[in-house]
């Protein structure tokens, strides 16, 4: 589809106020590239954020709400439910989405409301200057954990799937083409799409994703999953994933007689969560971290079911206007 607007038209006049070198800049870029390509009218775009460094709605020449901390999922749910023709994006951080906003997040996912949730995971509270977040690595020393944290981090993918999620994808802030691709898929998906972006907070948590995202080594440490394609990766695309019992394992093409046929083929659309969870959980260094769309399962969306109920009721009910209701039922007349 061709849109009548371009990335440029999506730049608002507000000055972008992120630290130089912050991964957010690239994400904004990718988003502005992706949006014109999804075939939605410019004026039907709504971008909703909570509070965090991801103060993105102000930077987008679209409809937008910069709301309160943690509540973006609920607010965006209200927007979409009230007005399903709108195309709603939620921009959120690991603190905003998974700390204070965790409950709205899992319920939104469970309801499968058609939102595109872009989760900036920098594993830290950036805006408030460096406290640990629910995704901070255990043991890490931060502003609020001078002795190291003692909490187990969430894995956003696992949590999403555990909450009945239908769409989960992952990408990194230093890979604009991949981000753009993934965002587009998320946008075209009907249902709650959760896109985790490994984002670097250069000021308070620099290089936290470095092991995985470093450009020189990332091809060996990430795998880009594509539906229907074998799970291959590596600088030379010669490594693959196979299942051994209930575990994933890396194998090398050509070694021990392994051919492409032995490699798992990615099925993002199966409702079964088992393999998707395993893929979402893959951790360095023994396994590559999964990028791309890990899960994408067709299911009814909340707002479409609601619209259907309304249509049916309109067809079937005898009440056409309020007066029908008011004057119906048990009334009596005083003359």
């Amino acid at each position: 589809m061709t849109a009548t607007y371009t990335a440029k038209d999506l730049k608002s006049s507000s000055e972008v106020k992120w630290c130089a070198g912050c991964g957010d800049h690239a994400i904004l870029n990718a988003l502005q590239k992706a949006m014109p390509e999804i075939g939605v009218n410019h004026e039907d775009l709504v971008v909703v954020s909570g509070i965090g460094s991801s103060r993105l709605p102000y930077y987008m020449e679209t409809y937008g709400m910069h709301t309160i901390h943690g509540r973006a999922s609920a607010i965006a749910s209200g927007v979409k439910t009230a007005n399903p023709k709108l195309h709603v994006w939620q921009i959120t951080g690991d603190g905003d989405c998974l700390a204070i906003g965790g409950n709205h997040f899992i319920h939104t996912v469970r309801r499968n409301i058609d939102l595109n949730i872009i989760l900036f995971n920098n594993q830290i509270y950036g805006l408030t200057k460096g406290q640990y977040s629910p995704t901070t690595k255990k043991g890490q020393i931060t502003k609020s954990s001078p002795h190291g944290t003692i909490e187990n981090p969430f894995n956003p993918g696992e949590l999403t799937i555990g909450a009945q999620g239908t769409f989960f994808a992952r990408t990194t802030d230093n890979n604009i083409p991949q981000m753009t691709e993934v965002m587009k898929e998320a946008a075209l998906f009907k249902g709650t799409s959760v896109v985790e972006i490994l984002q670097n907070c250069i000021i308070f948590n620099n290089a936290t994703h470095e092991y995985v995202t470093n450009r020189d080594t990332r091809n060996d440490r990430q795998i880009f999953l594509e539906h229907g394609k074998p799970m291959l990766f590596g600088e030379k695309n010669d490594k693959g994933l196979v299942l051994k019992g209930l575990s994933l394992k890396v194998v090398n093409l050509g070694k021990n007689g392994i051919t492409e046929a032995d490699i798992l083929v990615h099925d993002a659309t199966t409702p079964d969560t088992t393999l998707h969870t395993m893929l979402a959980n893959m951790k360095s260094p023994y396994l590559p971290v999964a990028m791309g769309v890990i899960r994408k399962v067709k299911a009814d969306t909340y707002e479409s079911l609601l619209e259907k109920q309304i249509e049916t009721a309109k067809k079937e009910s005898e009440i056409k206007t309020l007066n029908d209701l008011f004057y119906g039922g048990d009334t009596w007349e005083v003359k």
């Binding site: 009218n41 937008g64 709400m65 979409k80 009721a313 007066n323 209701l325 008011f326 009334t331």
Partner: protein, 610 residues
């Protein structure tokens, strides 16, 4: 059916049905009220049920009551004390005796066995210890007669026992000279799929009626149809009226109605009611908590629905932060708060007026919004409608306070034809004409425009940060912040110019002005009325608009020697008046027992100041 020769003609009389939670007293009371209303009386009802789902059967904690006041004249309250008490078991008697005038008590004598007497906390059988000497006690064999009547009905024994309340209702119908037909019609409709139940219920009802007639111990009351305004009427409780008022506003605005809600007693019935009307485009979003309830509402408002959230005390506390956001964004939403006994979980099924301060101030920063209150079950309709109108015309959140007493109490409502309702001018702007941007303010109201996503050329961002007065962009400029704080305050203040002036009931000048607000209206009115009849120089000024106050409030106050402010709390409105109209001195009358006022107590208190 005869035997009515000696009927006592009365203007007003009240009856209280009481029994175990499982005894169906709420339904019995409702059927009695409906029949009375259909017969043409004015009515007022008050359900009084336990907070436990089902407290242990036969105990005081499990007693459920329903009081109905019926009259030939206007009925303002459910009555302080009942003329007639129906008590289905000893616990019901024990719990309710304090609410009965020295009048008639009808007991199910079958339930006064030793076990139940002890369970109720009596040490002796109250029917035999002369403690009820000053009452006329009718020993009705309700359970046994019901069993007898339905012996051959084919119903199982559970179902049989369940219909004993209809026997009690039959007795009451004879006593109050009510026709049976309305209730019989109810059975026919309700059980149209189970004809055996229609017959059974009709039979038991009639048997009760006949029993009352036959014992010749009772003198029936006669209450002629009331002299009320012509029109089509319907019995309505406050929660339904609220729901319907919201729907009416949405229809007027031609916008979909959205309700973001989380269940909480006594507010949930608004959600239940609205969840039915999908055919009218109503969307109810049952959220994961009250915060999501209001946040979805804020989103829905931005997206162009008439958006409402409803809750009760503890839920309002949770919504505080988001109300602040709506104030900052200048988004129209309505927050209905059905007050209940606090603090904390408090007395969740009881009524109270102690959420006023939190409605006014329960959020950070200078965050004024409109606060108003309904004052009768049926005018919940009007104020729900008005709340929506103000919200969208002034682009502000509006908090509408009702309470448990209004929410569950019912009253005849003169059905409103929606065509006769006032027009609502939404500030929706559909295209860019001149500088008609989202942040331009109306000169009269200071309200900004409402631009709904999907509108071309008017894309804009709203948010919780302080915004520039002109552009709406975030601003840290000190003088702008001051200006915006003052503007938000002034915007709310100007609403006063668009709401009706304060009305008084009684003399324009006088010795004592009784001031009330919200759900206490009926009781205050009755007390003032009765004192007026006695020739006292007393007047009632009852508030529905609280922030802002009606413009003429000071003028009214100035005409009285004394002002007494009456509330079901420890003095919240009176303190608000002290801040807002500090030039007057206020007396207080407060009660905080989880119950409505008692008209007699009010009169006594007022007389001290006359």
């Amino acid at each position: 059916m005869g035997g009515k020769e000696f009927a006592k003609e009365l203007n007003k009389v009240s009856i209280r049905f009481s029994g175990d939670s499982g005894d169906g007293m709420q339904l019995t009371g409702t059927l009695f009220s409906d029949a009375s209303a259909l017969y043409g009386n004015d009515i007022s009802t008050f359900p009084d049920y336990p907070s436990e789902i089902r407290a242990p059967q036969g105990t005081i904690a499990g007693v459920s009551g329903f009081q109905v006041h019926i009259g030939k004249d206007k009925v303002n309250t459910p009555g302080d004390y009942a003329d007639v008490l129906v008590a289905m078991n000893p616990a019901a008697l024990k719990a309710n005796l304090k609410w009965v005038k020295r009048g008639t008590i009808i007991v199910d004598v079958d339930s006064f066995d030793e076990k139940h007497i002890l369970k109720a906390g009596y040490t002796e059988d109250p029917l035999n210890d002369r403690s009820l000497e000053s009452y006329q006690v009718i020993h009705a064999p309700i359970t046994s007669q019901t069993k007898q009547v339905l012996m051959d009905s084919g119903l199982d024994s559970k179902a049989i026992i369940r219909s004993k309340n209809m026997f009690a209702l039959g007795v009451s119908y004879w006593l109050f000279d009510r026709p049976l037909k309305y209730t019989e019609q109810y059975f026919e409709k309700k059980f149209h799929k189970k004809p055996e139940l229609i017959e059974a219920n009709k039979k038991v009802l009639r048997e009760g009626y006949i029993f009352a007639q036959n014992i010749h111990a009772l003198t029936p009351y006669r209450i002629e149809p009331a002299n009320i305004e012509k029109g089509i009427y319907k019995n309505i409780n406050g929660n339904t009226a609220t729901a319907w008022g919201l729907m009416a506003a949405a229809e007027k605005m031609q916008l979909p109605l959205f309700l973001g809600s989380y269940p909480i007693t006594p507010s949930s019935d608004i959600l239940h009611e609205l969840s039915h009307y999908k055919e009218l485009g109503v969307k109810t979003f049952q959220a994961e908590d009250e915060i999501a309830g209001i946040c979805t509402t804020i989103g829905a408002s931005y997206a162009g629905n008439l958006a409402v959230t409803n809750t009760s005390g503890p839920g309002l506390a949770l919504k505080g932060e988001a109300i602040g956001l709506a104030i900052m964004m200048e988004i129209p939403i309505v927050i209905v708060n059905v007050q209940r006994g606090g603090p904390s979980t408090g007395l969740p099924t009881k009524t109270e007026q102690a959420d006023l301060m939190q409605a006014l101030y329960g959020r950070n920063g200078e965050s004024p919004c409109v606060v108003m209150a309904a004052s009768t079950p049926s005018n919940c309709f009007d104020f729900a409608f008005a709340a929506c109108k103000i919200a969208v015309e002034h682009m502000t959140p509006v908090i509408l306070l009702t309470d448990g007493f209004l929410a569950n109490g019912s009253q005849p409502w003169k059905v409103v034809n929606t065509n006769t309702l006032p027009h609502i001018n939404t500030r929706i702007v559909k295209e860019r004409i001149g500088n008609n941007t989202p942040f331009i303010r109306d000169n009269a109201t200071l309200a900004r425009n409402w631009v709904i996503p999907g509108t071309k050329e008017l894309m804009h961002r709203v948010g919780g940060l302080e915004k520039d007065y002109e552009t709406g962009n975030p601003s840290l400029i000190p003088s702008n912040h001051h200006k915006m704080c003052v503007t938000r305050a002034e915007k709310v203040k100007r609403v006063a110019q668009f709401v009706p002036p304060l009305e008084i009931h009684g003399n324009e000048y006088g010795d004592l002005l009784v001031v009330g607000w919200g759900g206490t209206y009926g009781h205050l009115l009755s007390a003032v009325d009765e004192l007026l009849i006695q020739g006292e120089k007393i007047t009632l000024a009852h508030f529905n608009y609280i922030n802002p106050l009606p413009i003429n409030a000071a003028e009214v106050f100035g005409k009285f020697k004394k002002i007494i402010v009456c509330e079901l709390n420890l003095g919240q409105f009176v303190n608000y008046l002290r801040m807002t109209l500090p030039e007057f001195t206020y007396l207080q009358y407060n009660k905080i027992e989880g119950l409505p006022f008692i008209v007699e107590d009010l009169k006594e208190a007022f007389l001290k100041h006359l």
